[in-house]
């Protein structure tokens, strides 16, 4: 079997890992929080998006249609899972001790199907009648009321074709919690049938579709000219854009940090060349060319860095998987800023983000090492004799 001096020398050198190991540790320490943060951000964005889709907007919205039944029929297609008529209006709620301004969504009886129930915890009381409202626990706490209590709602109604502000008395029928405080503080539910006589707004069909078929359903509805067709990103353009921008900004910042960490490997490679210049010069005397010496140095530093990257990826994923419960615990301890985040999210390991981070670290690390290794060519065997 042919042997490789590069392989033998690399194994020998790795017995003195020293700075090379330190470099790998730095890459690990940079990669782990970076991956954890990306998974956290991806998971949270996905989680928040799903909350809005299931509890507030649906995947696709059909509005400005001529009549409800025709619109429902238009939405009957294989990709559509649920199609619910809703009415919405911004309202002021008054209790004896507090007020709240929020969107009241009027929904049909079977609106809270299993998919939606999966996004919230719902506690219903024994309150009968149509003039009821379901508040979030956050809003009920703000208004200091509970199930069965009364409150007044100020809304805009259409009377004889004119919009007028109208007070309505309601009873709290239930309390819900989505786990995302920003959504909970801005949304309440009431009966669709009752709201028809109260709200002046036109009905909107909220459509839940099978995974990945939003665009298909949108196109089909548009081709049927059934009404105005929008999707989640149109409906919540600012939220959607903020999410995308935040994710991109975080990715860029982390890539810059990763680049700095990788450049550190160039310093380590350079130090290694300086430390081993006697061996390198001796190898040159014995006939080893600069190309193979550079290959040796690369093989000594780069795989260790990649091991650091791999460990960082695993550690980052482990941190991210356990970050939700930990943040939830901190949230319960009363850290106010955490209330702006969705803490009950499923970690989403985004392959594209991991690939981008890994590719960036691999490329920058390899380039940095190769640049540093150019100094190998400058080492002359004669340096040994001049020093002696």
């Amino acid at each position: 079997m042919k042997s490789s001096i590069v392989g033998v020398w690399t194994l020998k050198r790795l017995r003195r890992p020293g700075p090379v190991l330190k470099c790998a540790l730095i890459i690990l320490l940079v990669t782990a929080p970076m991956i954890a943060a990306l998974i956290f951000v991806d998971g949270m964005i996905e989680g928040i998006t799903e909350k809005f889709i299931y509890l507030s907007n649906g995947h696709v919205q059909l509005s400005e249609f001529s009549d409800l039944e025709t619109a429902r029929k238009a939405a009957e297609m294989d990709e559509v899972l649920f199609c619910d008529a809703t009415l919405s209006s911004y309202c002021l709620l008054y209790s004896k001790t507090g007020t709240a301004s929020l969107l009241v969504k009027a929904v049909e009886k079977d609106y809270f199907n299993d998919m939606r129930k999966g996004q919230l915890s719902l506690e219903m009381g024994e309150v009968a009648g149509g003039n009821t409202i379901i508040l979030s626990k956050v809003t009920s706490e703000a208004l200091r009321i509970g199930i069965g209590d009364r409150l007044a709602m100020m809304t805009v109604s259409s009377i004889s074709g004119k919009d007028v502000i109208r007070p309505v008395l309601l009873k709290v029928a239930g309390l819900y919690s989505s786990g995302y405080e920003q959504l909970d503080t801005s949304l309440a539910y009431m009966s669709y049938d009752f709201a028809q006589g109260v709200f002046s707004s036109s009905p909107v069909l909220e459509i839940l579709v099978t995974k990945g078929s939003t665009e298909t359903v949108k196109r089909n509805l548009e081709s049927l000219a059934a009404g105005l067709v929008t999707d989640y990103s149109d409906y919540n353009r600012s939220i959607y854009d903020n999410f995308i921008t935040s994710k991109q900004a975080i990715l860029i910042i982390f890539l810059l940090i990763a680049a700095v960490a990788c450049v550190n490997t160039a310093t380590v490679a350079s130090e290694m060349i300086n430390d081993d210049y006697r061996t390198i010069a001796a190898m040159k005397i014995l006939g080893l060319d600069s190309r193979r010496i550079m290959l040796w140095a690369f093989c000594t530093v780069f795989p260790i860095n990649m091991a650091g990257l791999a460990c960082g990826l695993v550690l980052g994923i482990l941190i991210a998987v356990n970050l939700g419960p930990f943040l939830h615990y901190l949230g319960r301890l009363g850290i106010q800023s955490l209330s702006f985040y969705l803490l009950d999210f499923k970690p989403l390991v985004s392959l594209s983000s991991i690939l981008i981070v890994s590719a960036a670290i691999i490329l920058v690390s390899a380039a940095a090492i190769l640049i540093a290794l150019r100094s190998v060519r400058k080492i002359s065997p004669m340096q040994l004799f001049r020093q002696d």
Partner: protein
């Protein structure tokens, strides 16, 4: 040039700029030497006379200011660094006063390095290294690292390493210069005997006249030129 000549130095000059910037310091001045195959040649001279520089030029480690190095009839001094490295690996063996053993490699691995650089098989290289180390009585020191060996043992390992790839030419620069008398005598005998046994050409630089006289021809380096003083 005759086929019997393995190495020829033709009109070799080497000079350095003086640190003061006033002119040049001439070390070698149009030096010429022909080294026949399977012959041991020694070069003596005072310290600073340029013996080591001449050997380094002959070994393609240093470029001459003028002149050319011819190995096996081919001009080598103008080759690329990588090609010179290849020639050093396959055609030359080096022994230096400071042995230049690799600290991360043990005795047998140090001997094997030239063969591994040449891409020879690990098992055959190991067997050849084992044979050589047995000849210099270091069979029980195979796994020892240079820091665990005496000066004489290290120099014997360096001799084995120089012979590892069965080079035609062995270049030895004060190989016994740092050894005590007993060890120096052992290494001198080993080097000359092994070179003779394996039919190698030896170019030896030393200031030890007794050692130099064991070669088939002795030259003195004086004022940058060689003069033959014994045969």
């Amino acid at each position: 040039m005759s086929n019997d000549i393995l190495l020829a130095l033709e009109g070799i000059s080497k000079s350095f700029d003086k640190p003061s910037g006033e002119g040049k310091l001439v070390i070698l001045d149009r030096l010429c030497l022909e080294v026949p195959r399977a012959c041991a040649i020694s070069v003596i001279g005072k310290s600073g006379s340029g013996k080591s520089t001449m050997l380094q030029i002959a070994g393609l480690l240093e470029n001459p200011t003028e002149g050319r190095v011819i190995l096996n009839g081919s001009i080598c001094s103008s080759l690329s660094e990588n090609r010179k490295a290849e020639l050093r690996n396959t055609h030359m063996g080096f022994i230096f006063q400071s042995n230049l053993l690799l600290e991360d490699f043990n005795a047998i691995e140090n001997v094997m390095v030239p063969a591994l650089i040449a891409g020879k098989s690990f098992s055959r290289s190991r067997q050849r290294a084992l044979d050589l180390l047995s000849k210099v009585d270091l069979k029980d020191r195979l796994e020892h690292y240079p820091r665990e060996l005496s000066g004489g043992e290290k120099q014997r390992i360096a001799i084995c390493r120089a012979l590892m790839n069965e080079p035609e030419l062995i270049l030895a620069d004060e190989p016994t210069g740092s050894l005590d008398e007993a060890n120096a005598s052992i290494c001198e005998s080993l080097l000359l005997d092994l070179a003779r046994e394996e039919g190698k050409t030896l170019l030896l630089v030393t200031h030890n006249m007794d050692f130099a006289n064991k070669a088939q021809a002795v030259y003195r380096l004086l004022h940058g030129r060689l003069e033959r003083i014994a045969e």
